[in-house]
């Protein structure tokens, strides 16, 4: 366990510039929204909009982070892979460091939402808000994690191709595999459409900007969660994780 913890600490330092970039970038956008908000008189709404954008970016945070970290390692693969730890632990160290930074980033979004929530004319009615909240958070996190491992898997596929073919064709072939994966996931999604939890949890959604300039009102949003979807997503994550480690161990060369 200790070597892995030390490796994770190294990963945190290696990936720190990516974290810093995401924080500075999001702060820049935040300032922009804030200034625009002051000028138009919608400061809190501007902050809320920033939060929505940041939440969308956060969907792909681990893709961004793993892309940075793995590509930083590309120059020194002989250092990274010359290690007695199993490959899955090498990848997990990167992933855990990415998760750590992702949660810090997410925390800043939550703070902004918390500050601006009470100042925006925004309301949401739910039958069972706790259930909706927990399920949404679970969906959100699973989506982020599967994106991260999906990217890692495709990166290892790309790296295994470049020893045989030109990098450009490796990239094209990796995109083809990505398309195939999308098609397979879409095709198999029907297999996981079982275990319906509850639908129509959100019964009302209202967003009103002041002085009658902006108004959004949804009656009932159909929100159906399936246990099968969770299981499917977890199986997909497992496939990406095992696949990445296997390819990195046996097919990727320095």
């Amino acid at each position: 366990m200790t070597p892995w913890i030390h490796l994770t600490k190294k990963e945190l330092r290696l990936g720190f510039p990516a974290f810093l970039f995401s924080m500075i970038g999001s702060f820049g956008v935040f300032v922009l929204w804030f200034v625009l908000g002051i000028e138009s008189g919608f400061i809190w709404e501007g902050m809320m909009m920033w939060s929505v954008l940041a939440i969308l970016f956060n969907f792909f945070y681990l893709v961004f982070y793993m892309s940075y970290s793995l590509n930083a390692e590309r120059k020194r693969m002989h250092l990274w892979l010359h290690n007695p730890l199993p490959t899955y632990k090498l990848l997990l160290a990167k992933f855990v460091s990415g998760l750590f930074y992702m949660f810090i980033f997410l925390f800043t979004i939550i703070i902004v939402i918390g500050v601006s929530y009470g100042n925006v004319n925004f309301s949401m009615q739910m039958d069972d808000w706790k259930m909706t909240f927990y399920l949404s958070v679970a969906y959100y996190l699973i989506f982020i994690v599967s994106n991260g491992w999906g990217f890692t898997f495709l990166w290892t596929v790309y790296m295994s191709f470049i020893k045989f073919i030109h990098p450009f064709f490796s990239f094209v072939l990796t995109i083809v595999i990505l398309m195939f994966l999308f098609w397979m996931i879409d095709l198999s999604s029907v297999l996981f459409q079982w275990g319906e939890i509850e639908s129509h949890l959100i019964t009302g959604f209202e967003f009103t900007a002041t002085e009658e300039t902006f108004h959004l009102n949804f009656g009932e949003i159909p929100t159906t969660f399936y246990i099968g979807h969770f299981i499917g997503a977890l199986l997909l994550i497992l496939f990406f994780f095992i696949g990445s480690a296997w390819i990195l161990d046996r097919k990727v060369e320095v």
């Binding site: 200790t2 070597p3 030390h6 490796l7 190294k10 330092r13 290696l14 720190f16 120059k75 020194r76 693969m77 002989h78 250092l79 892979l81 010359h82 290690n83 007695p84 730890l85 199993p86 490959t87 020893k163 045989f164 073919i165 161990d249 046996r250 060369e253 320095v254």
Partner: protein, 229 residues
Amino acid sequence: MIELRQVTKRYRRKIALNEVNITLTPRKIYGLVGENGSGKSTMLKLIAGLIYPTRGEVLVDGNRVDRRVSSVVSFLSELDEYYSFFNVEQTIAFYHSQFPDFDLEKANEMVKFMKLDRKAKLKELSKGNRGRLKLVLSLSRNAPIILMDEPLSGLDPMVRNSIVKGLISFIDIDKQLVLITTHEIQEIENILDEVIAIKDGKIIGRKVVEQLREQENVGIVDWLTSIYE
């Protein structure tokens, strides 16, 4: 013991190693010599489990090599790449945390011997001092096999001299097998037990250095020149 059996390594269209058969036994220092692109680095990476043979097999102590052979093989790469955010001390601590056979006491002794500043950031070190640090990291492991790819490449004579002295002082020849590739043959000639010549991915000669000197009265460079022509 290292064995390469009928090993061929191909990179796209280029054959880097061609049906190589060789056995290296412990408690010896081997020099692997040859021109650029002859297959020296490929051979070392195959033994280190960082690449895989296209055909044939590479065995270390009778086991087929994979990436995790790094638990018994210490590999020094020719590349000048490091985790530049670490300083010398942190780099050593990181290696100590990753390799159970890393001898911290030996590393500290070597740092002193090489006159390295423990607090210096790697990105601030001169190329010579980075070369010295690579040697510290590689030789501080009590691994039975040490592979060194061009440890003297691009370094000035003073640094090369200190590295050769480091090799003499810190290799445990009673326990370790050392395989060194280099173009600076004359500088390590005195520490080699055997020399292996490689050309176009094939082993073209192998000699015991002492025999070469005493029986044939030639140095490694002369011998290499004669078989290369």
